[in-house]
Symmetry: C2
Subunit: 325 residues, 2 copies
Amino acid sequence: MVRVGVDEAVAEELLADMPAGAQVVRIPRRAEEGDVLDVDFWMVPFARKGAEATFRRLRGVKVVQSMMAGVDWITPWLPPEITLCDGRGIHDVSASEWVLSAILAVMKRLPVYRDLQHRQEWKGFATAPTELMAEPGLAAGLYRVLGEDLAGKTVLIVGYGSIGAAIESRLAPFGVNVLRVARQARENPEVHPGDALHGLLPQADVVVLIVPSTPQTRGLIGATELALMKRGALLVNAARGPVVVTDALVDALRRHHVRAALDVTDPEPLPLGHPLWTAPNCLITPHIGGSTPQFIHRAFRFGAEQVRRYIAGQPLENIVGPEGY
Amino acid sequence: MVRVGVDEAVAEELLADMPAGAQVVRIPRRAEEGDVLDVDFWMVPFARKGAEATFRRLRGVKVVQSMMAGVDWITPWLPPEITLCDGRGIHDVSASEWVLSAILAVMKRLPVYRDLQHRQEWKGFATAPTELMAEPGLAAGLYRVLGEDLAGKTVLIVGYGSIGAAIESRLAPFGVNVLRVARQARENPEVHPGDALHGLLPQADVVVLIVPSTPQTRGLIGATELALMKRGALLVNAARGPVVVTDALVDALRRHHVRAALDVTDPEPLPLGHPLWTAPNCLITPHIGGSTPQFIHRAFRFGAEQVRRYIAGQPLENIVGPEGY
């Protein structure tokens, strides 16, 4: 019998796919001092806060399964002899959908129109009030309040992997030109190596960040990189907040050099009064990109499948290597 | 020499593709009483207001080219012996992009997050204030503030034609089930006839209206049809305002029976104080779906190509039949 540890609050229906031979161990959020639970296979809860403290109450853990694509919040405290699996793949649908929604919302000026809706002002044809028109680059001019086509644009995907490929497949029918960059160059499709980033940034109308969070990707997009972006280009951060240097982004937004759509920020949560909230041409969602009700089900189906592999003695998927991803 | 009438304000660059043998006649917006201009081929300006008055000042018109997919605003006053061509096809890109942006924005709750951004509140995980959570149907519950997947949903396209096919091709990689209905049934792909609408509405998570505006489509979606929609389903109107019975929609929205994304309304423009502005779960853009700077160029390239055909004695495209579309 393999003991599978899950948070006490996980709904019973999410565990319906657990294989025979698995015994679910509910982990209470509040524990008495000294309480210890025997668990072989631990499914880390989505809540990051307290995950380390919970781990310290578990005994005999051999496998840790994260539901997140990124595991940078687990590696610092997890002993290296324990197998860590990430959630690569299970976020593809919801994360790529968020990226497409963010790109299209900015192209069609949905945030501006939402604001106009609250004012109950029907203003489409270049008549919107100028304070809503803080828009840089090519989009300015006579037709600036209308939408903008995605067709014909160049989209650079930074950190091209499983989610990146899902983004590209959804972009394909829009008739865009896709450029790809990742840590390691690959062929079919052509993925440029990381050091090609500076050469690719000036070509892109949209830059999508989907890199894992590692020491190497921290501050990947700073003042230099923002300056290399086209005037009016859109930066989409679906990775992690610290991948972008916040002060440099606020500055580039205020100078109307770029636009941004952010699902992650640094700091996060973004506090009241932070200049990003009110920076021009910046759409912010509170780290919801990967998370949908359907995702939760997908995640636990994947977790159950991993438990089945573990019981059957088959190789696990998504094992995190020593490099952290 | 064929005299091509265009509005005085049309930028010179938009006329760059005019063929040899075409003589551009600039039509002033303000004319002295009794002024008459000789024009063979008239490109109707985008502004509907005053189009009929402008037409009365033109002499010898043989062809009228509209840049809009719908020509319901021209047919009532245009003598039947004049050839009328519509803008079918030139809107495919921008209109289908708007539809995708509207569907994805609602799935990912971007209007709610935009409102939270103005409050500078980072609230993603089921903690948003309840007054923003006026959301019906399956989406309600623990995860209601997060996004929702488009994947796996059923999308019904009502008025399946050129734009409908463009919408479907962009939906395809999202893994949705597409249903189609049009005036006349067709095969490959299967398009259901108009009288199948009532049977299809209860199956759809998203209903996209892209029908032409004709006497037959006026009030196509009323209280009966809205009641047939699934609770929480999304109605997307990218057609014309009067295709939907506004009072019935306001009522269905207020009862949280459906959600809506509207690029067109009835009345239009929507006046200050109209209940649609503040109806729950309703996103409104001011009839901008088809119009992007890139569209303007596409439209005039198409117009120039029509002029070329006319001069060469070739059949024109998009001739509007006696049925009005």
